[in-house]
Symmetry: C2
Subunit: 172 residues, 2 copies
Amino acid sequence: MSEQAEQHQGQSAGRDEEAVSRFVERFAAELTEAGMQRMASRVFAALLASDSGTLTSAELAEQLQISPAAVSGAVRYLVQVNMVRREREPGTRRDRYRLYNELWYETLGNREKVLTRWEEVLREGAKTLGPDTPAGARVAETVEFFEFMQGELDVLLERWREHRAQRLAEES
Amino acid sequence: MSEQAEQHQGQSAGRDEEAVSRFVERFAAELTEAGMQRMASRVFAALLASDSGTLTSAELAEQLQISPAAVSGAVRYLVQVNMVRREREPGTRRDRYRLYNELWYETLGNREKVLTRWEEVLREGAKTLGPDTPAGARVAETVEFFEFMQGELDVLLERWREHRAQRLAEES
DNA sequence: CGCTGCTTTCACAAATTTGTGAAGTTAAGA
DNA sequence: TCTTAACTTCACAAATTTGTGAAAGCAGCG
């Protein structure tokens, strides 16, 4: 791929696209192993490795060697789970897909919704098993653990932001 | 199923096995959605809902309506990821499978190994992208986030144990 | 208003994953 | 050592998931 084409995609000139691609695929594989759909993982990893944090459908299809249909499916999923958002490129009929949050990892905290659902199921289960049974007690304790975690995770994120702000201040 | 049979499985007499089964399946479905193999999820959920925290292969096969082969596969996985351990029942040729830790949710912290692998991949990626590029900076920051989290999660677990101990003390 | 090009949807084929039956292996007990 | 119960492995069939090409849908622009 020519440097001009790279510029076109908003990447640094002359970066080693082959090495970048290896990284994209390696990280995507990790995401996939963690339970994310394969194409969604690859699309997300590609966005993460792009300078602008944004790519068009065509660029994704070309870079990942997949059909527009596959891009569409992956993006639908990523938008739904709030990892990517869709932007219309003004003056064209082309969409751009962007990392939902530059601080994308904060999204991992959005697991909240998952945790909440788990809590509901477990709370109901504890009731079914009965608080006076070993199994019921075990499940009830699990619920408390999740409640505790839910609260603490927010605190933790706040601490991270401080930590990060401090680091940025030191740098300058 | 007769109460005698239930006793045989170490469950409370007279618990509503049908409702328990619904709970097992519901929670298993959550685990599956979160990326765990289906049979592994079901086996784990069944153990979680058992009073003794331990079941034999035959009991699992019967309760979940699956073949011994399926139990074997599920257990192999669960043992590997340290959620279940295998025990030989002395004086018989029957294995028992037990929740690895009564405080099973602590295992969620064992995600450490996963986080560490992610960190490696991302660190390498940051190098490839170059620290002076937006993409490289983004990935490098992700690495720092994981490093931070790794450390804080231990602290958090410790706080939970305190929290829990205190609650137990209040109860008595 | 209709053409044009980008995106999505749909039906299907390919690939992968899952669970089973049956054979194989291991170890307890006679 | 032999028998046999229990678990594991293996090869395969079934089910599910995945990605594609082709057609349909939409939105910009003339």
